[in-house]
């Protein structure tokens, strides 16, 4: 046992009090504001108000099965997450590979790319409402200048293009994040394997496939995990851009839960739905973490 270990362990009995005191406030905060709300949510999801008073029932969960809005919102969430994740990952990886070498002004470039992802999501929503506005937005205005007809391009107001628009906005905001994490991962790779590959006469693609990709895997998994969690719970930008509309075209699960709770005041049903979302994100993160520890 190294000396410092022994030092920090002795005398064993008294050393428990101080760390317990240091951790106690954090535990108290998390128990009362994360765990207690969760339990509270369980109880309201199992209750239904009737004329006779409050009933304990599984009714809220049973309702999920036959609620087609719920399943549509689920489907929207998955389409949104899958499409945005794919685009963000491929674009972010490409940018990271391009920039993983000495280029003049790299610092400035990196700093500018940070801008979208640091913006408050509400501001991102405002920015893109302005860009995509069919009457005076910059996108249609610029397209029109090049002689492209923009009559049918109503973006967030069109049932066909609304989903595409909100996905594109997410890609715009979060590709820089994927890029940054992958760039950090690339820069942590040592030079030796590349020199070995060069000596073996590997092509660029072979080097990428057999050297870069395996060594980058931890960073890739972490960034995919973080993005997947965020994408499945997406709320802010869509709320600002379309409020889930037109109609129901961009309603994701978080928006549907919000509407159920705070527009229709059906807290029990909203709580029941939120547990489905929680279970879903848990299962997915467990799968990712399995992969991560199997590297």
């Amino acid at each position: 046992m190294p000396k410092s270990r022994r030092f920090f362990n002795a005398p064993a009995k008294r050393e428990l009090l101080l760390p317990a005191l240091l951790i106690a406030p954090a535990m108290a905060v998390l128990l009362s504001l994360s765990i207690y709300p969760l339990l509270y949510s369980v109880t309201i999801s199992l209750q239904q108000e009737t004329a006779a008073g409050i009933n304990w029932t599984f009714g809220n969960f049973a309702r999920l099965a036959s609620d087609s809005f719920f399943w549509t919102a689920m489907a929207h969430t998955f389409v949104y997450a899958a499409a945005a994740l794919t685009c963000e990952f491929l674009l972010g990886l490409a940018l990271a590979l391009l920039l993983n070498s000495q280029i003049r002004g790299r610092g400035l470039f990196r700093a500018s790319l940070l801008v979208p992802m640091m913006l408050p999501t509400v501001v991102v929503g405002v920015v893109w409402r302005l860009m995509l506005n069919p009457d005076f937005g910059a996108i249609n205005g610029t397209l029109a200048r090049f002689g492209i007809s923009t009559e049918s391009l109503t973006w967030t107001a069109s049932p066909r293009l609304a989903m595409l628009s909100v996905i594109a906005v997410d890609v715009w905001q979060w590709t820089p994040f994927v890029f940054l994490v992958l760039l950090a991962g690339l820069q942590a790779i040592p030079q030796e394997p590349y020199e070995a590959a060069l000596i073996d006469g590997s092509s660029r693609w072979q080097t990428f496939r057999h050297v870069t990709l395996p060594l980058l895997k931890p960073a890739i998994l972490i960034v995919l995990l973080l993005r997947t969690m965020d994408l499945l719970r997406v709320f802010d930008q869509i709320f600002i851009l379309t409020e889930g509309g037109p109609g129901f075209a961009t309603e994701t699960i978080s928006l549907y839960i919000y509407r159920t709770a705070f527009r229709f005041f059906d807290f029990g049903y909203a709580a029941a739905m939120s547990f489905v979302l929680l279970a879903l994100t848990n299962v997915i993160s467990v799968i990712y973490i399995r992969f991560l520890s199997h590297r």
Partner: protein, 279 residues
């Protein structure tokens, strides 16, 4: 060979410039809308560069309307909740990084703390709304400060645990040998050494609290208590949208974020990945 390399370099720089244009042009567009008169705002084709700037929307937003108040609320909530989360979280992080706890509690507690951060916000938003209603804290700044403290806490614990773990133990031991108490060594020796990490963590918490929307939307609906994002969102979803006012308010909301983000570049990756990638 040399020519191919050169061509590749040119292609690379071109790609980067296009990426840069995509990243920045939309934000620039919003800034111009904030500075344009209504005539210029609706002009076709849209003027990107040539228009007569005006500050009327800023006046309208922050003097005529209540955006100044939202701004103050946002600042108070962000700073107070960050301070609370830093104090509570740093102490816990130090204990988790430096003391051997029984039953492998170091790892177990750390993972449990991290897992509380993984809940989708909407899952806790519903019960937190009802709890705040029960204790009559709806539409108060206190409700947001409490919720943001809890929200930032896991992040502070994870970041600071990493910064403490990076420090060699010898310095603390030297202080202890010199007769300092445990907490004395922590305050006088350890804290100054992790100060840059502490600052980076604080800035992250400030950004998260400043940007947060869902809890603020659920918990605050009055002018006196709402934060800047909620105020801006309220204007967007109205029937008649004042684009200039909205853009002016949004442009003010991004100023502190940009300043912080630039100051933070070195720690950005580490912070955004909860310390998982050291960057």
């Amino acid at each position: 060979m040399k020519r191919i390399e050169n061509r590749f370099n040119f292609f690379r720089i071109l790609c980067l410039f296009v990426a840069l244009l995509f990243a920045l042009a939309p934000v620039y567009w919003m800034l111009t809308i904030a500075l344009k008169t209504e005539v210029d705002q609706f002009a076709i084709p849209p003027p990107w560069f040539v228009f007569t700037p005006t500050l009327e929307h800023y006046y309208d937003a922050f003097v005529t309307r209540a955006f100044g108040q939202y701004l103050i609320t946002s600042a108070i909530v962000a700073v107070t909740s960050t301070a609370c989360a830093l104090v509570i979280g740093t102490l816990a992080a130090y204990a988790l990084a430096r003391f051997e706890l029984p039953w492998r509690l170091n790892q177990r507690l750390s993972l449990w703390i991290l897992s509380t951060r993984m809940f989708p916000a909407i899952v806790t938003a519903v019960p937190l709304f009802l709890m705040m209603r029960d204790v009559r804290l709806l539409n108060t700044r206190a409700s947001l400060i409490i919720v943001y403290t809890a929200f930032n806490l896991p992040f502070v614990v994870w970041m600071m645990r990493g910064f403490f773990a990076d420090l060699p133990r010898d310095l603390e031991e030297a202080a202890l040998v010199d007769g300092d108490s445990r907490m004395g060594a922590f305050v006088r020796v350890v804290l100054p050494l992790v100060a840059p990490g502490l600052a980076a963590t604080a800035v992250f918490c400030l950004i998260v609290s400043w940007n947060e929307f869902l809890f603020a939307l659920v918990l605050t609906q009055t002018d006196a208590a709402m934060t800047l994002p909620v105020g801006i969102a309220g204007r967007v979803t109205q029937y008649e949208i004042k684009w200039g006012v909205m853009s002016a308010a949004a442009s003010v909301a991004i100023v502190p974020i940009l300043v912080f983000a630039l100051a933070l570049q070195r720690y950005l990756v580490r912070g955004l990945s909860m310390g998982a990638v050291k960057g």
